[in-house]
């Protein structure tokens, strides 16, 4: 198996799907001649031409709407948002149109579109460029939301997303693009809606997704040295949530910590807690805890930026607390 960067895995998925289906096209800011702001679309313009790899003006609302319209008549657009922060400008087209077309038309229309781009904090970019916005989209019926942590998942989920007949929100990890991992060649598909046990353990479950997975791994390694066995469930899909996998891991370890980059109020993690307490309350040996970003805007100052985000020490503290261990 080839070792690829997360961005290369996405590039491979795009190229394979565009090769397979001429209805697939890519539109976004700098996706063509610039080769992608994060180089996800490297080489695609030369390979597929300017009608299929389209440099859009800086008009998120406009080109999101153009993509939705094209999807309504059977094309399969992939709309790259340079970051999800900018996609806030396109919310109306994503939420009021794409998510609702099937319903409002009484099942006459489908909207096979993928909106994708990087999300999350980091890199000293302050408030407007450092936000984990997945809960915004997970809120809306009619959308599916995916957020892969590894290069292999990124490739497999993007291929599924492009083939799906529903509007998909794909939130990539801005800090993960250069991360390497083994990626199967060719037809590698990860089903949307299936979580993945990334680490087997028996004392406590950590439930997470995207970049936070790596902090959880780091915490799990340190905890293992102290004799605590951690299971890590990577949700991969945030809408629909894989209830079965969430309940299975909780039934196995009887304790859960949810790690989420975004803000605590109305976060995706809050819904995971709801699933656990309403369907597996009797299995729990301790209250479920959440480790989230702090409930503040992101700062530019390096020390503040670090303090706002979840990290391994915070996760370790939460795990010890649900285990009723010292230091919690």
């Amino acid at each position: 198996m080839a070792e690829l960067m997360y961005r290369e895995a996405l590039n491979q998925a795009l190229a394979e799907e565009m090769e397979r289906d001429a209805n697939v096209f890519l539109i976004g800011e700098e996706v063509g001649r610039y080769q992608g702001a994060f180089k996800v679309s490297q080489g695609l313009l030369d390979r597929f031409g300017s009608a299929r790899v389209i440099d859009a003006p800086i008009s998120e609302l406009g080109f999101a709407g153009l993509g939705v319209g094209a999807a309504m008549v059977g094309l399969r657009p992939v709309v790259e948002m340079m970051t999800w922060n900018f996609a806030i400008l396109a919310m109306d087209q994503i939420v009021n149109n794409a998510a609702k077309l099937r319903h409002m038309s009484g099942g006459q229309l489908r909207c096979p579109i993928v909106f994708r781009g990087p999300g999350g904090a980091g890199g000293r970019l302050s408030s407007q460029h450092s936000q984990a916005l997945e809960s915004n989209y997970a809120h809306f019926p009619g959308l599916k939301v995916i957020a892969p942590a590894t290069p292999a998942d990124a490739k497999g989920l993007l291929k599924s997303a492009i083939r799906d007949d529903n509007p998909i929100i794909m939130i990539e990890g801005e800090r993960l693009y250069a991360l390497k991992g083994e990626v199967p060649e060719g037809e590698h598909i990860i089903p949307i809606g299936k979580a993945d046990v990334k680490r087997e353990g028996k004392d406590v479950s950590i439930i997470t997704w995207s970049r936070m997975y790596y902090f959880c791994e780091e915490a799990a390694k340190q905890l293992e040295a102290e004799g605590i066995s951690v299971e890590i469930l990577d949700l991969r899909t945030l809408r629909p949530l894989d209830e079965e996998a969430i309940l299975a891991t909780v039934r196995k370890t009887n304790r859960a910590v949810i790690v989420e980059e975004g803000w605590p109020l109305a976060g995706v993690g809050a819904s995971v807690v709801d699933i656990i307490q309403s369907k597996a309350f009797d299995e729990l040996d301790a209250p479920v805890l959440r480790v989230t970003g702090l409930d503040v805007n992101m700062s530019y100052a390096a020390n503040l930026e670090n303090a706002i985000q979840p990290d391994a020490p915070k996760i370790i503290a939460a795990v010890k607390k649900v285990l009723y261990r010292e230091g919690a």
Binding site: R20, D21, A22, N23, V24, F25, G32, R33, G49, S50, A51, R52, I54, D55, A56, P57, S59, L61, G62, F63, A64, G65, L66, G67, V68, G69, A70, A71, M72, V73, G74, L75, P77, D92, Q93, N96, N97, L101, R102, H103, M104, S105, G106, G107, Q108, L109, R110, P141, G142, K144, D165, N166
Partner: protein
Amino acid sequence: MASKYSKDLLLTMYRKMYLMRRFEERAGQQYGLGKIAGFCHLYIGQEAVAAGVEAAIRPDDYMLSGYRDHAQPLARGSDAGMVMAELFGRTGGYSKGKGGSMHIFDIENHFYGGYGIVGAQIGLAAGMAFASRYRNEDRVTVCYFGDAAANQGIFHETLNMAAKWKLPVLYICENNRYGMGTAIARVAAVPEIHKRGDAYGIRHEAADGMDVLKMYESVKDAVEYIRAGNGPVLMEANTYRFRGHSMADPATYRTKQEVEDERKNDPIPRLKDYAIKQGLAKEEEFDAIEAEVKEQVDAAVKFADESPEPSLDELWKDTIVEEGEEDVRPRERVLGVKVTRWPKYPSGQELKVTWDLEPREQAEKADKAAGLKR
């Protein structure tokens, strides 16, 4: 003097306008009776626009609209009973009663919906037109919106792209002079909306939206220009709604005199007078059409009234498309007729994309002009 129009054309346009008028009058009445709820934006007064457009385009051209969207699908040939049932929120409606007044969709007749957010359909229309170019079809997309929508960001963002990429779309701004209760001149720096086409270098014009024949001529020219590959046209159809913004609006922001004056321009009697004066049709022929349409609309109301409410399990359908799930064909579902006009698009294997959105030589020339090297 012989008219340049055929009798058939005039009578067809008359029948459509009269159907829209009667339908909307009955919809207003049913709203009063509590059978229709929500907002109910009537088209009364604007019929010449939809009838003129429909006569000038092909049935397979795409169309979208805003929330004032009952009449345009009727002009396309949608079933009046099913549109009325949608207004009633009944299962016999085009969207099973899930879309209601502001979201009429009739894909069989290439009517791709009414949209409740002001201007949102302007972006969708560009995407549909883009798809036509992408597949090398000579279809035009007709997009209706109101005067107020021209002040939304999506209007400007989309016109820029549509112009740059020469998308085959006809933007028809139905300027009825009021965005809800606000006269357009009070909030628009340039109230002649069509002039905004200059900013994007696209053909634009004002059309008489109270005269169906003039409307027909304007649209015929514009569509020919678009189909020839010249890119979009922004047409401002100057029209007037005789009623309030919606049934919930008593329209106290304009004078009785203004409405009375405008009613003198009513496009429906105007067309009738013209046809009779030209000796193309007799009074009795119009009487017959009117009687038929009245019957059609009565039947539509009856159909809607007798159609059941959707069952509660419908709540869980039509949100996410399951794998292998077919699209719902409304007339097939409701009337049991075999629908054959359902759009079929080429699969990825059949499709050859030959369009060059930004030819390489052109891009390189632009680079050179900017002093860039590649």
